[in-house]
């Protein structure tokens, strides 16, 4: 498959050398077989299938959310490695090295900004990706375990963000460690031990900074890399991206496959015979319904990377990552607010640390992981909201949960346990607060939906939509309606 476009040009001559050909086994692919062969023999491209179903390329199906998440991860690794050359994880030097990065290091500010905005983007993108996978029913068999891995990756993303914003050793960092490790000390029996383990002692200081640094730059990225590898490997082994059954021919036309490709001299399915086990072709109606990944998948992915990188760089140029004052162990800032993605949690923690910080998040993670094992229906996979009815359930769940959440919080503000009985035991305050009532309300509602409709999928849609709505409402309340001393304020 040597490139015979002539050796007259410089490029042609370079590509004709033995060295070049020892690195790249293919010239520019001309036929479908060449294209698939390139996908197959290139280390980086072989992450992707040689052929894809046109449905995977529909932007309105995936919104490319997972891929953008991966790209942000790559940007985070690269900018993170570079930041490590100047950052010193010591309580005396950490803040100084942040100032150096801001004012003395060439492009240090830009790299830090890019790292920060990519991290924020990743938190948002991973969550949106989870919503996409949920609403298209893509967690169904055989992809149940990949959904579980995805939930773990979401948790890992949040933990990476948390450990990351502790490192500048500014006010946000110090009081986030203080509050975060105190939440970790709430589980009965083992809580205090966990706190000592996280802090490397009993007070927030050098030991804690070093531990969170090692978690942030070594342990968590390694775990993330491993889980991501399994996540991607499972996508391929579970038959590629989910898709609806039927009518793929029409989809192939809409995906821009009108132009016929010259076929190679060999049968294309010979490629598939090289790999044992379940291949990406599983579930495909016929090989002819899939189109070569090169160029239909690879080219958009390259363009997408350029777009993601450009957006992150523009954000990095125009918006500086915040850096608060140097850590002051005597006083938290007032108000002491977490980053936006944790403000919903902070709102819940402000009613009860045990319930809002430990019980609800724990149940939430377990509940999300168990979704594919509860909803084992097969219909409607690969279709947004499964059916028009599913869309209505999702919409009503989202619309109804928002005022319900606000109502519970107002009720607590005027008639909360501590309002009515100042001397009430803590157990009562833990049992009756917006967090627990919200949890009970959402669970009861989705069980009701499942019972009335007889569909576990609809019950799951109700549960997930309520959770989504409550999460966003709590985040908005924590961000805009809480002021100094965590008092109510109007955002205007």
């Amino acid at each position: 498959m040597a490139d015979d476009r002539g050796t007259s040009t410089l490029a042609g001559r370079i590509m004709g050398t033995r060295v070049w050909q020892s690195v790249f086994r293919h010239g520019y692919p001309e036929t479908d077989l060449d294209r698939m062969s390139t996908m197959f023999t290139n280390f980086f491209l072989h992450l992707l299938p040689a052929k894809v179903h046109p449905n995977c390329l529909r932007l309105t199906y995936t919104w490319a959310l997972g891929m953008v998440g991966l790209y942000l991860t790559i940007i985070l690794f690269v900018t993170g490695f570079l930041l490590m050359f100047f950052y010193i994880p010591s309580t005396g030097w950490a803040y100084q090295s942040m100032k150096d990065l801001q004012f003395a290091v060439s492009f240090g500010l830009l790299l830090r900004n890019m790292h920060r905005w990519s991290a924020h983007g990743m938190v948002a993108l991973v969550f949106l990706h989870m919503c996409r996978v949920f609403y298209t029913g893509s967690y169904r068999a055989p992809r149940e375990f990949n959904w579980v891995l995805g939930v773990l990756l979401w948790g890992l993303t949040l933990f990476l963000s948390f450990t990351g914003y502790l490192l500048p050793w500014d006010q946000l960092a110090f009081w986030a460690i203080t509050v975060g490790t105190s939440i970790a000390s709430y589980p009965p029996w083992i809580g205090e031990t966990i706190r000592v383990l996280m802090l490397g002692g009993h007070t927030v200081g050098q030991g804690a900074l070093l531990r969170f640094y090692v978690l942030h730059v070594a342990v968590l990225p390694a775990v993330l890399g491993l889980l991501l590898a399994i996540h991607f490997w499972r996508i391929r082994k579970d038959g590629g991206l989910s898709r609806p059954a039927g009518a793929p021919g029409e989809l192939a036309v809409t995906a821009g496959h009108e132009r016929p490709f010259a076929r190679g001299p060999l049968k294309t399915y010979a490629l598939m015979e090289l790999v044992g086990g379940t291949s990406p072709m599983v579930g495909a109606q016929a090989p002819e319904e899939e189109i070569p990944s090169w160029p239909h998948l690879v080219f958009p992915l390259v363009v997408l990377f350029e777009v993601v990188l450009a957006v992150v760089m523009v954000l990095g140029v125009f918006f500086n990552a915040p850096l608060e004052e140097l850590a002051n162990f005597t006083h938290p800032p007032n108000p002491a607010k977490a980053p936006w993605y944790f403000l919903g949690l902070q709102e819940l923690v402000s009613y009860s640390a045990l319930v809002g910080g430990v019980v609800v998040p724990g149940l939430l993670i377990l509940g999300l992981m168990s979704i594919p094992y509860v909803d084992r229906e097969a219909e409607g996979e690969g279709i947004w909201f499964t059916s028009p009815r599913g869309k209505r359930v999702a919409l009503w769940s989202i619309l109804a949960t928002a005022p319900f959440t606000v109502l519970l919080i107002l009720l607590n503000a005027y008639m909360g346990v501590r309002r009515l009985f100042t001397e009430a035991p803590q157990a009562l305050a833990d049992l009756l607060n917006p967090a627990t009532l919200l949890l009970v309300g959402i669970a009861a509602f989705s069980i009701l939906v499942g019972w009335r409709t007889g569909s576990r999928r609809l019950a799951a849609i109700a549960l997930f939509s309520c959770f989504l709505s409550a999460y966003v409402v709590l985040m908005v309340i924590g961000t805009f309606f809480r002021g100094p001393n965590w008092d109510w304020i109007w955002p205007w």
């Binding site: 002692g201 640390a353 001393n485 965590w486």
Partner: protein, 170 residues
Amino acid sequence: MPNAGPQPETPPSEGSRISRRLLLGTGWCGFLISTLGPALANVRYLFPNVVYEGPTQFKVGRAEEYPAGSATFLEEQRLFILHDPEGFRALSAVCTHLRCTTGPFVPPAGQWKEPYSRCPCHGSIFAKDGRVLQGPAPRPLDFYRVSLAPDGRLLVDTAAIVGKDDIFKV
């Protein structure tokens, strides 16, 4: 074995015979123990035996420096020195909710009929005897033991938590 090949010429005697199950079981147990042991050692390793943290006892000055009826906030030590007619007490300023520093005591206002202190992080409100008036704090603020150092200054021990009726008289 139904389709046996050549039989061993001398079968091992019954006494020295180790069953396949026993051999493999012992092997697996050995493997698990030899893996679990180092794993537990690694966990234990992460708990430090020596920490370089500040002292828990410190002198907070002479009794005369605190006017009668005052609640003085000591920033560095994160505590209040309360000087009541009965004597001295040291009230922790570390919120029992999530360990933020609660604010200074302000005079009674609005619904609060006594001086109160507010925590900036999650809105807990405390009275001068440590009681929780409002908010998520699960228990009252701690009192630390107050004593007199040999040089005549007050000594506070944050490692020694006492009841709110434990008042130090000078």
